[in-house]
């Protein structure tokens, strides 16, 4: 059932959340809007299109300690990291929330990634549905949409003077005191339409397009930075190494990207994917071919961040169009 919360009550609800647990929400940092830990409710931004980087870092941090080594009586003991404290992420766009369901697929598969599972269990996901579509967004073609509630515990939709509230899960309901709510009288505003991309049947077409000069041509202009992977709400590759500091040892993992030159290089120097075109193809094959074959959905939610952030305009929408066309009988 939909209910209504006034803007004022929403602010006080956010304040309550901030006091009870870690509150993460979009906030202005110079000319960027980023998800940050909120210390003053006034810093929360309620009107924005989407953040520059995805909220995945709050469940899959850029850098995270897996365990640290403690020496006791000359014996080493490994102390696994534990996630303590609860977090509320407020202001998730539906595409980004769907991105979290994508992280779930590999990370929660048996054996579950313990830290990710803990983050997930201790985080409440609060969405804010989109009233306008970003020009580079294509969520509806990727199985999501401006009102998609996948992975969300609570969803807010802005209306006049306040927000419609939809508590989706038990976790969400328990966090939403009825006292702040009233019956919804306003009708839900119409959802915006996003520009379509031809995602239908893309997996089969990717298979057909696998060989051929196309990927090399696209890779010509790729500078092989990691921007696309790091702004993406679904990319989940990581690197693991030991970190030592003044005698203490910990094992950490950090984000990594299939576009970085050393990604597949093994000790001894052999790199099975040394070629630029093959690296480029790996990114799109993973998103549109391998991941769907392994887990079902396409590995993209259509948030459009990579489209906007790519320094050289490598545009997944254009790639999908090209691949669809390549697969077509001549």
């Amino acid at each position: 059932m939909r209910q209504f919360i006034s803007k004022q009550n929403l602010i006080s609800w956010l304040r309550q959340q901030m006091e009870a647990r870690q509150l993460v929400a979009p906030t202005q940092v110079d000319d960027l809007i980023l998800f940050r830990r909120i210390d003053r409710v006034d810093d929360v931004i309620l009107q924005f299109q989407n953040t520059a980087t995805s909220p995945k870092e709050w469940l899959f941090p850029k850098t995270e300690t897996l365990f640290h080594v403690e020496r006791k009586d000359g014996k080493a003991e490994l102390i696994p990291a534990e996630i303590d404290g609860e977090t509320v992420i407020f202001g998730l766009r539906p595409c980004d929330a769907r991105g979290i369901t994508m992280l779930d697929l590999p990370y929660l598969a048996d054996p579950a990634d313990t830290l990710y599972r803990q983050h997930r269990q201790k985080t409440v996901l609060v969405g804010l549905s989109c009233l306008t579509a970003c020009p580079e967004c294509f969520c509806e073609s990727m199985g999501s949409g401006p009102e998609d509630t996948a992975a969300l515990d609570i969803m807010f939709t802005e209306v006049r003077d306040g927000y419609l509230v939809q508590a989706i899960t038990e976790k969400g309901r328990s966090l939403m005191p009825q006292a702040l709510l009233s019956p919804a009288e306003t009708v839900k505003p119409p959802a915006p339409e996003t520009a379509p991309v031809p995602s239908e049947g893309i997996t089969a077409k990717m298979r057909q397009a696998f060989d051929g000069p196309y990927w090399g041509r696209v890779a010509d202009r790729c500078i092989h930075c990691n921007v696309c992977a790091y702004v993406c709400p679904t990319c989940y590759c990581f690197d693991v190494r030991d970190y030592t500091n003044k005698g203490s040892v910990e094992r950490v993992r950090s984000w990594e990207s299939c576009q970085s030159p050393g990604f597949t290089k093994i000790a001894g120097g052999h790199d099975p994917r040394a070629n630029k075109g093959a690296r480029m193809r790996q990114r799109f094959s993973h998103k549109l071919l391998y991941f769907p074959e392994q887990f079902g959905p396409l590995h993209c939610v259509g948030c459009g961040r990579c489209v906007r952030a790519c320094p050289v305009n490598i545009d997944i929408r254009e790639i999908m169009q090209d691949v669809q066309r390549m697969g077509a009988p001549k």
Partner: protein
């Protein structure tokens, strides 16, 4: 004839006559507004080339992937300095290159989907509107304006109290994702193994955290001291808008002041760190 038309004509002739295998230039990107790099291999592709104020990329970077292959390239004045830099450092061969130099009035900040309204900071104080090296020149050379203060941004930063500067940089570096886009876009960054990826010794840990980020960002800039040609790419490509040009331009300013050197103005002058004068007074160790 417009600059775009001149570039297309030059490219078409070069490709038709098989003078080069490839012309690196710009084409329109998928937002319909901004330019993106484009590699034309056939004469028929020449008509996709464009030039306007959204052509921000420094294409000289791509020459590092085309060593030994005959290539024509469209360069703005700052990019032409990158070519000199790479020639000076023996990274590319002049005889394999055909340089299509473009007289450039300055380019605008890249904004997705909308024409950038603001000229890049570097362009606002630019004193080099004609390429320093070219085979074909597109546009009429202009007389260079006298810029009274070419480093207002750096001077502004220098004037701040130390703790304010510290806080500023700490915040800036804390944002860094270590995506290395700044490095990948930079024509001066071409080490086969970057210090940031060196494992033994491990200079920069894999933690994407403030301390490591500071080492990365400051050393990236310092490795370009006396080499940065001011194309502004690092800052343009940064997904979290770190003010990297403030670092590079500080070094550029000091290199100019101390050693009277500007990178890439020619392909012969020794860069400041590979030469010295016995009696120079630099204010240290004296």
């Amino acid at each position: 004839m417009s600059q775009t038309a001149q570039i297309r004509q030059a490219a078409r002739e070069l490709l038709q006559g098989k003078a080069v295998e490839c012309v690196i230039g710009y084409e329109r990107g998928t937002d319909g507004v901004n330019a993106r790099p484009f590699f034309a291999y056939e004469a028929a592709e020449a008509d996709r080339l464009i030039f306007d104020q959204t052509c921000t990329h420094d294409l000289a970077k791509y020459l590092l992937n085309r060593k030994g292959k005959s290539t024509a390239i469209v360069v703005k004045p700052c990019d032409s300095r990158a070519i000199n830099l790479l020639l000076n450092e023996s990274q590319i061969q002049r005889d394999k290159l055909h340089i299509i130099g473009v007289v450039c009035p300055g380019v605008v900040e890249r904004r997705w989907g909308t024409p950038g309204a603001k000229q890049l900071n570097a362009c606002q104080v630019c004193q080099q509107h004609t390429p320093v090296v070219y085979d074909t020149l597109v546009g009429q050379p202009v007389s260079e304006p006298a810029v009274a203060d070419p480093y207002p941004d750096v001077a502004g930063m220098e004037a701040k109290p130390a703790d304010e500067r510290r806080t500023f940089w700490e915040e800036q570096f804390s944002r860094c994702l270590r995506c290395y886009a700044c490095r990948q876009a930079c024509p001066g960054c071409y080490c086969p193994e970057c210090f940031a990826e060196r494992l033994d010794p491990l200079w920069v840990g894999i933690r994407i955290a403030p301390g490591e980020n500071e080492v990365w960002n400051t050393m990236r800039a310092f490795h370009l001291a006396g080499r940065c040609i001011g194309c502004y790419q690092c800052e343009q490509v940064c997904p979290v808008n770190i003010r990297l040009s403030l670092l590079n331009r500080k070094l550029e300013k000091d290199v100019l002041g101390m050693f009277h050197f500007q990178a890439g103005m020619d392909a012969e002058s020794p860069p400041p760190f590979s030469t010295y004068q016995k009696d120079e007074k630099l204010g240290i160790g004296e």
